[in-house]
Symmetry: C2
Subunit: 233 residues, 2 copies
DNA sequence: ACCTGAACACCGTTCAAGT
DNA sequence: ACCTGAACACCGTTCAAGT
């Protein structure tokens, strides 16, 4: 479990702890939310649910967080702290972006709810930017000028996040295309869609699809880099 | 307004309309949801809210839809019916995919909530597959074998949807990176992130970023196609 | 200093009663 | 055939009272 970030200022030392003793803490609450998210990744978390789990009144949580939004923000940051990136010394841009992509993939697979928090509830965290800065670094080092750098970085981000996103949403609602659906389609379309369905039904499909997406992303980058370097010379 | 799909079977003609006269209809309810989505795209729609708008009791809606999920499913299909794709005669694969990508972009920009419904609530509609089949068609015509076709199609979908998705989530929560956030970063990172922020703050940024993403996607496809064709010869 | 219960304004949904 | 109100089990949040 990672440390809990952005704690309330600690109690002034020397003070004689007046008043009622606490039954919980920011740490416990955040840990409880993480546990709930790991147990059922598809649902969202309610204050009531957390309180029930800890064994306190829902209102007690408001002593530690201003509201549900601040709590989720803290959880988001906390989960991002667990993001780990192993990088060999002297890795080139391909190795850096590959390592980042796989780490991202692993991380969001582990906490599917996190992409929801990041993408939909506006909690784009500074922690995420920090961990994803490796992409910027890799492309800056290889010679992309500032004006070329920004769109390239944004493209890599949206491309890899798009791959993660489509995997997760596909995984959470997979039996999407029924035989009846197929039967209602006309022929050139039906054959293609059946092939698509069979392909995605295969075991290990997600890994190979992610790998494919990553390779196309790297291909695209190689083109951009080659063009930039030939211009610079 | 598009026709409303999947209506209840019409009342048997000749029957003398016994019982209480209806105050609303599937069409009106769906139209009301669409109107609410167009007014405030970021929030989700409640049964209570719809009923208030139409001027009926919330429970009346349950005469027309089994539950909230079925209502949203119908709305999703309905919005997809409005998807329009203009395609010149004899367009090549680039033109087809470009037209599809721009139509997709336009459509989700108009109904930002739709991507949420499609991606997150598991309502991947047959209508979406039908409209997106143009990608499959374009790549099949250009000579990709079935085994190469499926991953390529999925890649194009996730790549373009990723671009749309990141635009929408960025747009809905833009002042993400404050000066204080920047101040807390260390130097190589801070410079890059400031450049990124300034880039995304520029007017017309979204359009040029989308265009950039589309071009990289086409570049990647060109590589795949060239490889497949050289293998076939 | 922290916890609690009552209260408010919301949800989706079931059921029985009305027209 | 369709609508309604009461009721249930949920939400997040404010406020005043307790320890």
């Amino acid at each position: 479990m990672a440390d809990v970030v952005s704690l309330k200022p600690a109690r002034k030392s020397g003070a004689r702890s007046p008043g009622r003793p606490p039954k919980t803490s920011r740490q416990e609450i955040v840990a409880c939310v993480v546990a709930i998210l790991e147990k059922n990744p598809q649902q969202s978390v309610s204050i009531t649910q957390i309180a029930r789990e800890i064994g306190i009144a829902p209102m007690a949580i408001y002593n530690y967080f201003a509201n549900r939004d601040e709590l989720l923000q803290t959880v988001t940051q906390n989960l991002m702290e667990e993001f780990r990136l192993e990088l060999a010394e002297g890795a080139d841009w391909r190795a850096k972006i590959t390592a980042w992509a796989h780490a991202t993939h692993r991380h969001f697979r582990r906490y599917p709810h996190l992409i929801h928090l990041l993408t939909w509830e506006g909690h784009t965290s500074v922690a995420w930017l920090k961990h994803s800065a490796i992409v910027t670094e890799a492309l800056a080092d290889v010679g992309l000028a500032p004006r070329e750098l920004a769109p390239a970085v944004l493209w890599v981000w949206s491309s890899i996040m798009g791959a993660v996103n489509s995997e997760l949403s596909w995984a959470s609602s997979h039996p999407t295309l029924s035989d009846e659906d197929l039967a209602r389609m006309e022929e050139p379309l039906r054959g293609h869609m059946r092939a698509l369905r069979d392909f995605t039904a295969g075991g290990g499909h997600f890994d190979s699809a992610f790998q494919y997406n990553l390779e196309r992303t790297l291909d695209g980058l190689a083109g951009v880099i080659a063009k930039a370097q030939s211009k610079a010379v």
